[in-house]
């Protein structure tokens, strides 16, 4: 056998320091987390809320979270899979859906805290930069955007969710530099372009292009879900307007009527007892002996 110098010796493992569990899983950026959670000591127990936005392949998760030693406490959450309830059935992870999810979360939180009358936010969604004005009695609800491990490029969907929450009435410190429609050359946010993204106009344009001009078959395959619901390129903006109105009308979550299962599903293998392991060994050896009766057999 070729003599290969062992790369990872016993000494390597002895000195190896594991990173934090969530870092090993690649889920938490601790550098950002420390800076988001750190509260001024002279504010004592005042919670610092994070507006957390995470994207999965088919869902958007928006939460308002505050940190504690026992674990993070989620005050309110909104998911893209709740949007069918308000009339949005397809395209649940695009920029417009992110806007709807952010808006839903903002209205939900404000309703929970009974601030929804005071802070209506921006009812007409123009793409302009909108910040909440403090009202007379209570100051607006402040949260800090937590993007997680996303690359914050201009036009990222996470900023769509941010815009939704801002228009919903939350106070989140931000800059318009990363909204879709910001032109780096003139250093200005093109409100019209941003509004197009909020209402899914970029999707509608693509639908028109692939339908009428280039490839009608591609249109059939790509937008099959839209076609099943009977959505054409021109209906999209109207649909989003209705969804925004529906969200503002009733943002409270619906309790699921499904009963929780009495026994939790087991995700890892159950640990066997000593007798069970011995029995398994005997079985395996018997099977081996039965399978190859010609070869030499060692005693158990």
């Amino acid at each position: 056998m070729v003599f290969v110098k062992a790369q990872k010796t016993k000494a390597y493992f002895k000195r190896f320091q594991v990173k934090f569990k969530r870092r090993r899983a690649g889920k938490t950026d601790y550098r950002a987390r420390i800076r988001l959670i750190n509260q001024d000591k002279n504010k004592y127990n005042t919670p610092k809320y994070r507006f957390v936005v995470r994207f999965t392949n088919k869902n958007i998760i928006a939460q308002i979270v505050s940190a504690s030693i026992a674990g993070d406490m989620v005050m309110a959450a909104a998911y893209a899979h709740e949007l069918p309830r308000y009339g949005l059935e397809v395209g649940l992870t695009n920029y417009a859906a992110a806007y709807c999810t952010g808006l839903l979360l903002a209205r939900r939180v404000l309703k929970m805290l009974e601030m929804d009358e005071e802070y209506q936010g921006n009812v007409e969604a123009t793409g302009e930069d909108f910040s909440v004005e403090p009202a007379e009695s209570r100051r607006p609800f402040r949260a800090l955007l937590d993007v997680g491990l996303l690359r914050t490029t201009t036009g990222n969907r996470v900023f769509g969710a941010l815009k939704g929450a801002l228009d919903g009435g939350l106070d989140i410190p931000h800059s318009e530099k990363r909204f879709a429609g910001f032109k780096k050359d003139d250093k200005q946010l093109d409100a019209e372009a941003h509004r197009k993204y909020i209402f899914g106009d970029h999707v509608a344009c693509y639908m028109r292009v692939s339908l009428m001009d280039d490839e009608p078959e591609k249109y059939q395959s790509h937008f099959s879900a839209y076609l099943k619901k009977g959505l054409e390129a021109d209906d999209i903006e109207e649909m989003y307007k209705k969804v925004h109105a529906a969200i503002r009308a009733d943002p409270m979550p619906v309790k699921s009527t499904k009963e929780p299962p009495k026994e939790h599903k087991r995700y890892n293998l159950k640990k066997l007892t000593y007798e069970e392991r011995k029995a398994k060994l005997v079985e395996r050896l018997n099977a081996l002996n039965a399978a190859e009766p010609d070869d030499e057999e060692d005693d158990e």
Partner: protein, 164 residues
């Protein structure tokens, strides 16, 4: 070149992070709150360079007298010459732990209050004072055998080992 006497002199091991605990510090240090009058232990965290106390204060316990945005003011006793001065220093929260020195006292206070309330409801008097451990009670020694030891007479021939 002689060794210097800078602020962090002789702290190579004192401020070093323990084995396999380098890098980011766990977040509970940032989530703890401290009120004025709490007791805290000062333990320097070498990974955070700002707001480090002088090496003298490492391992000291003091009372919180001030709370600012990112740091705690701690009042620590320091012996200077023939007197003890109460020194007031500001230390960042990463170098501070809540002290357990008053934990036993607070537990005892709670328990005593409870005992006193119970005794009051029963109408009898109790003393909640701690008593020091007294002398052990007397006991009989078990399984002892008597062995009488007498001196043996001096034997010149046997006792002189080797030459004489």
């Amino acid at each position: 070149m002689p060794a210097g006497h800078g602020v962090r002199s002789r702290t190579r091991d004192l401020f070093a992070r323990p084995f396999r605990k380098k890098g980011y510090i766990p977040l509970t240090t940032y989530l703890r709150t401290y009120k004025i009058g709490d007791f805290v232990d000062i333990k320097v965290n070498g990974a955070v360079h700002k707001g480090m106390p002088h090496k003298f204060y490492h391992g000291r316990t003091g009372k919180v007298w001030n709370v600012t945005k990112r740091a705690i003011g701690v009042e620590v006793n320091k012996q200077v010459g023939n007197r003890i001065i109460r020194k007031r220093i500001h230390v960042r929260v990463e170098h501070v732990l809540p002290s357990r020195c008053t934990e036993e006292f607070r537990e005892r206070k709670k328990k005593n209050d409870q005992l006193k309330a119970e005794a009051k409801s029963r109408g009898e008097k109790i003393s909640t004072k701690r008593q020091p451990e007294g002398p052990k009670p007397g006991f009989m020694v078990e399984g002892a055998t008597l062995e009488t030891v007498t001196p043996i007479p001096y034997d010149v021939v046997n006792d002189l080992k080797g030459g004489y």
